[in-house]
Every structure is written in C-alpha cells, then in structure tokens.
C-alpha cells in the first residue's frame, strides 16, 4: 500500500465543520475500474469496464490475474462490465451479481448475471435479465444495483442516448429501473404488473442514465442519481411506478446547446430532490454509516466524473440542505464511492490507469 502522505483539510462550504482525512492508494493499475464489493474476509472485488473482475486480497494486494469466469461483455465507449454486488447470503452461497453490456455496436443493452465465487474464480454463471430492445451505439447503460430489504434487487438502466423518447415508453426497458427477485423472476408486487402494455420488470420510468443507487434502510428510501445532458444531473427519490419525466422534463439542455424540452418540471412527473446545473456527471453513490467519520453519519456521497470530486450531501429529514465538495485534490474522474465495513470511504478513479483509494481519518 502506498500512502499519498497528503494531509488535507477538505474544502468547505459555509456552515460546515472541518473534516480532516487522509487519502491512501490501495491499488493502482486498474483499467477504468467501475465498481467494487467488499468480501467477508476483508478483500475486495473490483470490476474493470473492459470486462475484467479483479481481486484485492485482504492484505491490500491486487491479484495479477483477473478472476476467471466473467461473462463475455460488449466493451466499447461507455459499454463494458459494470457493477459487482454480493448476494445477501454470499457468505454461505458465494453468489454474486454482475451487470454488463452485451451484444455488439449495432445491437446491445444491459444484462444482469449471477455466478458463484469460490475465492478464485466464478462458476455456474447464469443470465437473469437483459434489457430490451437491443439498441445501436455504446452509450447510456445504467448498470448499478441495489438490494432491497424484501430480497429483491433493483437494476438501473439507461436510455441509449439516441432513444431518449423511449424512456417514456413502458413497453421497453430503456431509461428505467427494473426490480427483480434474487433469482431474476418478476416480483408479484412490481408496480407495472397488470398493465399489458408495460414490461413487468419495470420499477420506475423516465430516466436518462442512472449511475448511482442507494437504499437508505433507516428512512426506507431508494435514492438514485442520473446524468442529465448539459446540466440537469439529478438526485431522485424513487417511488414504485413513478415517472421521472425524461426527456419531457429536465433542467439541462443538449450538448449542442439545443433545448431538449421547454419544460423543467410538469405536474405529471416526479421532480428531482435536487439537480446539478451545470453538470458534475454523477457516477456512484454511497450512504455513510460508520464510525470512522462521525460527522458524516447519514450523509450521501456522490462521486463525479466531469466534476472530478465527490459531493457530500447533508440531509435533514431526507431533504438535502447542504453540499460539500470533497477530494478535488485528486484531479481525477471518480467512478465510484463506497463505504467499507471499516467505516472508511473507498473511491475508484476512472482512468486507463485507475486506482482504488481509501479515505481514512487524518488522526
């Protein structure tokens, strides 16, 4: 482990207490790392977007050889291997979930697979779900997952960029969240069940590209962040069956400067809890519960790509009342932020030579 030996006082917004921390590089040489999962033995699994799953041992050493048995992925631009998430009974079953892009440049979309990890490799892989229709291009896949307390999981999806109007079409999976049982079946109480024109897996619609998801067990809230276009990145509280408006409503404009819609909000659609305009390009998201940083208890942490930072969102009764910009000194696109079982924050930098970084208290 290489210490950066940087002692930092985090940049502050008005009214916030100092939060001193130190950044430690746990592993380097990761190619566009996308997500990580903490293993019960203290190790970590890290996905690399080109399609590799890497194992970081409990002592912090990055295994040279990738984990064998990862499904074939479509790796191009934003496409590739996305999230790794352990099953709730992983300690007994060894089961984990992987989200990834599958197909080719003319026909692809996000899939969800499950396999058994024995500490060395994956076996018994099965595909539980693939979003449809297959679409052209290599943009906007979503790919994040969260477990709900009723033994279901929610998978985030994207609109495929060129298909933005399809986010309003419940007859496909583009621009939506889907909810599945842990073995991939459709839960009996999914909100769109009973609508013959809608896909039964849908949990919410009207999203653009959902890149972060967190379930807050204390507030019983499912929260997501999603990329807006130029401006209009959003934090949303998910209600089953709700429509979040994209592309009929957004606070952003197209990358060309063109208006995507005249409407920022409309009564028919659930508005965001907050939006970031100009964009920060939110990526991962974590809810802090731990002992290492008592001041951060219950706060949300949103990693950002274009913003090259992590936003700490301070909440009061679920409402975001303040924000703090963290870790800008890294000068890196940050793909994911997690809270480890040790109470430390873990960051993944989104570069061809990306790193896994641990945030620990300064003292």
């Amino acid at each position: 482990m290489k210490r950066l030996s940087i002692w930092l006082a985090a940049p502050l917004l008005a009214g916030l207490a100092h939060a001193d921390y130190r950044l430690e590089t746990v592993a380097e040489g990761l190619e566009h790392p996308w997500s990580l999962a903490f293993l019960p033995d203290g190790g970590m699994l890290v996905t690399e977007r080109p399609g590799r799953l890497r194992l970081v041992d409990a002592d912090g050493a990055l295994r040279e050889a990738p984990v064998a048995g990862v499904p074939e992925v479509f790796a191009e631009a934003q496409a590739g291997l996305f999230e790794v998430m352990l099953a709730p009974d992983f300690a007994d079953s060894g089961l984990l979930y992987l989200s990834y892009a599958y197909g080719d440049i003319t026909a692809n979309n996000t899939c969800l697979g499950r396999a058994r990890f024995n500490g060395e490799g994956l076996s018994g892989g099965e595909v539980l779900f693939c979003a449809s229709p297959a679409k052209r291009g290599a943009a906007h896949y979503g790919g994040r997952m969260a477990l709900l307390p009723d033994d279901t999981l929610v998978l985030t999806l994207g609109d495929g960029f060129d298909y933005r109007e399809q986010a309003q079409n419940a007859g496909n999976h583009l621009g939506s969240l889907v909810r599945l049982s842990l073995d991939g079946r459709v839960p009996d109480d999914n909100p769109f069940l009973g609508d013959d024109r809608a896909r039964p897996e849908l949990y919410s619609i009207g999203h653009r590209n959902v890149q972060g998801i967190v379930y807050d067990d204390q507030r019983d809230e499912l929260l997501i962040n999603e990329h807006g276009p130029r401006g209009g990145d959003e934090l949303n509280r998910i209600q089953p069956g709700a429509n979040y408006g994209w592309p009929l409503t957004t606070h952003g404009v197209d990358y060309t400067g063109a208006r995507i819609t005249p409407f920022r909000e409309l009564p028919a659609f659930t508005p965001p809890l907050l939006h970031w305009t100009p964009s920060i390009a939110p990526s991962g998201m974590a809810l802090y519960r731990g002992d290492a940083f008592p001041d951060w208890q219950g706060d949300l942490f949103v990693s950002a790509l274009a913003g090259q930072q992590v936003r700490r969102l301070i909440r009061d009764e679920g409402r975001v009342v303040d924000q703090q910009v963290l870790f800008e000194e890294l000068g890196a696109r940050i793909r994911d932020v997690r809270v480890g079982p040790d109470g430390y924050l873990y960051l993944l930098t989104d570069h061809a030579d990306g790193a896994l970084i641990r945030v620990v208290p300064a003292s």
Binding site: A77, A138, E165, L248, D254, T256, A258, F263
Partner: protein, 140 residues
C-alpha cells in the same frame, strides 16, 4: 457577401428546423406545445444552438462552395442546382464527421431520423441557393 448570407440562412433555418423536430418528438409523447412555447423555444435555440451549428456550417460551406465552383469545369449543372446540392452534401458530410468524432452516437438530435436529416440538409440547400443567387446578381 454571398457566403455570409448562405451561412446565415443555413444556420438559422437549421436551428429552427431542429427545434420543430425536437418539439414534435415531445408532442408525440403527449406534451402540449403552445405557440408561445414553440416561439420561445425556437428563440432559445437560436441563441443556444445556432452558434455551435454555425461553426459546423462554416466549415462545410468553406469546403463545399469552392469545390462546387471548381466542379463547374466538368459538371454542366446550373448554379441554382449545383450550389444547393453542394451545400447539402457538405452538411451531410459534416454531420457524419461530427457523429464519428463526438462521444455520443448522434450529436444533433433532429438528425437521428432520416426525415430530420433531410430537413436539415434542405436548410443547407436553401443556403446554397442564396449563394447561387448572390453570385448571379454579382456576375450579371
């Protein structure tokens, strides 16, 4: 002067056209687009979209108009046909290059469909026609 007018006509018509295509896509989803909303959005796009689009149009016209003039040695097309055709082809090429270079599949949303692309090319052809008319006025 003819080049500047062609640039203005192509840019302004293209901006207005892409606005209408984007609004039509929203209307197809059930959005109510009032006349005032349409006018406001069109104006916003003239301020927000047209400057970037003008850059693309400048490059395409700077290549297509001289090439069209040069091709008159071999092509016996009247200028009122040749320059619109060249301007439209030039823009089409510019759109292809932009979509290849830009990280997103399609840079200008209105050109995701064939009808939208043809309408934008129609705006370029109009610009080419204006250039041909200016040129004819200058030489007559």
């Amino acid at each position: 002067m003819g080049f500047v007018l062609a640039l203005l006509v192509t840019t302004l018509s293209g901006s207005l056209i892409q606005t209408q295509f984007n609004l039509a896509a929203l209307a197809a989803l059930g959005a109510e687009i009032s006349l005032s909303t349409r006018l406001t959005t069109s104006l916003q796009d003239l301020l927000g979209f047209a400057p970037l689009y003008a850059g693309m149009v400048v490059l395409s016209l700077a290549a297509s108009i001289p090439l069209a003039a040069l091709s008159r040695r071999w092509l016996a097309l009247p200028p009122a046909l040749l320059y619109p055709l060249a301007a439209a082809l030039g823009l089409w090429l510019a759109l292809l290059v932009a979509d290849t270079l830009a990280p997103m599949p399609t840079l200008i949303a209105a050109t995701r469909s064939l009808s939208g692309t043809l309408a934008m090319l129609g705006g370029a052809a109009l610009g080419g026609l204006v250039y041909a008319c200016c040129r004819a006025g200058r030489t007559s």
